[in-house]
């Protein structure tokens, strides 16, 4: 990759992150935003109201940071899985993590747990769901791709049924809408505490994927070829699954189901840098971060009520992707 590309792809999400702090439903003078941010690095006199500081530091900043990490994490997981499964239609929820997390969240909502407890339960269910898939897919100490996919389908179907059951028994005046809105996805739960819970697994998983990215190229050739090249495919697959599951479970548990990002951002990345995972994975991370930041800025500012993220990611993303698809005719650079 050319150095200018590298600089641009790292600078873009960071610039967007900074810009995101200036937009919102609450009117804050841009100068105040800048000074509040600066005051956290360098002590200057606080001549702005405490409420404004709360908006910037406790509401906007955690939310924007979360959007960035969730977008990056989902996009990286998607590209790792698309390589490993050798299938462009794969998204991070292929092994049932989303369905399991969603059921966990619904249970927490039914039991009226608070947001942090909900996040913990959803995360645990997500990990548990993928663990079930992995056990189901084990055949003679190997996990063939087909077995993984089918086991994922089984586990996802099972948890979806449980989720429907949870919705069926939910109180229609309060619990049912809460479950429904949660499933549509939202970053409104972002706070410093939820970040402290969600970021470590996302960072750990993404770092792991970055280390494994050249081996993903070998894995993308198929198990047998990879093995003949001396790659321990089972260990590698398990590693990729652990990393992506950590990321996806953390993302889903903190913001509900945000579709499309993990499916399509990798394709966008491939159009820009080709299918080599050494370049594709970091590219997906950066595009994913920028994309979700941008989408969330719309979600939280466009109307008085919040627009669910799951609606916007596809509503804005689909036409944009269609445009790119026509322009590149589906080929890589």
């Amino acid at each position: 990759m050319r150095r200018s590309v590298v600089v641009a792809m790292i600078a873009a999400p960071l610039a967007l992150l900074y810009a995101s702090l200036f937009v919102g439903r609450f009117t804050v003078a841009p100068a105040d935003v800048a000074r509040i941010l600066w005051s956290n690095v360098y002590p200057i006199t606080h001549d702005w109201p405490a409420s404004v500081e709360t908006i910037v530091m406790q509401i906007r900043l955690p939310r924007a940071v979360l959007a960035m990490f969730v977008g990056a994490g989902l996009a990286a997981s998607g590209s790792a899985y698309q390589g490993m499964f050798r299938n462009p239609l794969v998204s991070p929820d292929i092994l049932g993590v989303t369905a399991a997390s969603a059921f966990g969240a619904a249970v927490a909502l039914l039991l009226s747990r608070n947001a942090l407890e909900l996040q913990a339960v959803a995360f645990a269910f997500g990990l548990g769901g993928v663990f079930c898939t992995y056990l189901l897919a084990r055949v003679y100490r190997t996990t063939p791709i087909l077995m993984l996919v089918l086991s994922g389908v089984v586990v996802a179907a099972f948890f979806s049924a449980l989720l429907s059951g949870a919705k069926y028994v939910a109180d229609p005046e309060s619990k049912l809408p809460a479950i429904t809105y949660w499933l549509l996805g939202s970053l409104n739960g972002a706070s410093t505490r939820s970040l402290a819970m969600a970021l470590p697994p996302i960072i750990a998983g993404s770092t792991g994927l970055m280390f494994l990215r050249w081996q993903l190229n070998v894995l993308a050739m198929g198990d047998e070829e990879a093995r003949s090249l001396g790659v321990r495919t089972e260990v590698l697959k398990a590693g990729v699954i652990v990393c992506t599951t950590l990321i996806t479970a953390a993302c889903v548990s903190v913001c509900g189901i945000v579709g499309w990002v993990g499916l399509v951002i990798p394709h966008l990345g491939r159009m820009l840098v080709g299918p080599d995972h050494r370049a594709l994975l970091p590219m997906s991370l950066c595009i994913g971060a920028a994309y979700l930041l941008l989408i969330d800025d719309v979600a939280r500012t466009a109307t008085v009520g919040e627009i669910p993220l799951g609606i916007l990611t596809a509503l804005i993303g689909a036409p944009f992707f269609a445009y790119l698809l026509r322009k590149t005719r589906g080929t890589w650079q």
Partner: protein
Amino acid sequence: MNRRKALLAVAHLWGIGLLAAWTRAPAADPGTRQLTDAAGRIVTLPTRVTRVADAWHANNGVVLMLGAADKIVATTAQAQNQPWFRRLYPRIEQVPAAFNAAGEADMEALIGVRPDVILMAYDGTMPRWSGAVSAYHLPIVMMPNRSLAELKTTVRMTGEVLGDSESRIAAEYLRYFDDNIRRVTLVTSKLGPLERPKVLHTASAGVLTVDGRQSVIDDWIAIAGGINAADVVGVGRPVTMEQVAAWNPDVIIVGTAPNQQNRQSILDDPRWRQIKAVKDGRVFVNPSGVYLWDRHSAEAALQVLWAAKTLHPAEFADLDVGQETRKFYETYFHHALSDDELNSILQATPP
């Protein structure tokens, strides 16, 4: 062979015709009466209604208040799950819950209990199962549910459906309700715009949703001399934390069980700390009894008093909500509340 088939078909049709003739009740039957419901339909009811299927959870509490709970033969799981409903009327747990959360009916259970009438909230469409039910000549009465005025209409209609004694109680209740509204508005109508606090009524925890305009909640906030801070239309709308900060409500009323716990999570969250209501210590839980006071409950008559006292404690210093609550439960639910019980209702904790 063909002739045999044709004969069979004719016999079949004749049988259906007979059945239809047998089940169709003549319109001017002296044993029936007619009533126009919220959907504008003219519904024919038996003169004496003794068996009611109530598909609207909130309305079950109204039937209980009108003294006709013994007539309930089918209810909803949500009505059965209201702790105070069960406390005051334990039989509700034995009544079949023929309606689920989504408003769908278990047809066999419903027809099995042979209701004289089915009561339901009208949201603009008839339930999917209304066609199947009409085949059994079970009348459905749709009742309006979008405002406090419509809640009053619903109480009147419910009384009318149930019978004379229930109608009398309904009329008495509506007088009491109107008296309370008058008592409150006498004071609150004189308030200037600056004296009306901005009130945020939260609808659920976990996911932040609030109750907006065109709702029962909006109505009682206005009567009690407040302004609904939530500038959205409808109940249970999701909003961002920043939007709440932009509204900066003077008062927050937590309207979802477990209210106390949900109130605590607001107080514990640093993002809420600079909201005026939190800073001023004006975060309250909404009382909850036979049904949630803030919604389509019989206790909406008390809600206007409670809200007025909560928003304007000085102006309503002489109003004793506890005393009014005791009187109300004594009169309409025939239950003398102990101090603990009164507290459980006002603090929205299970009895």
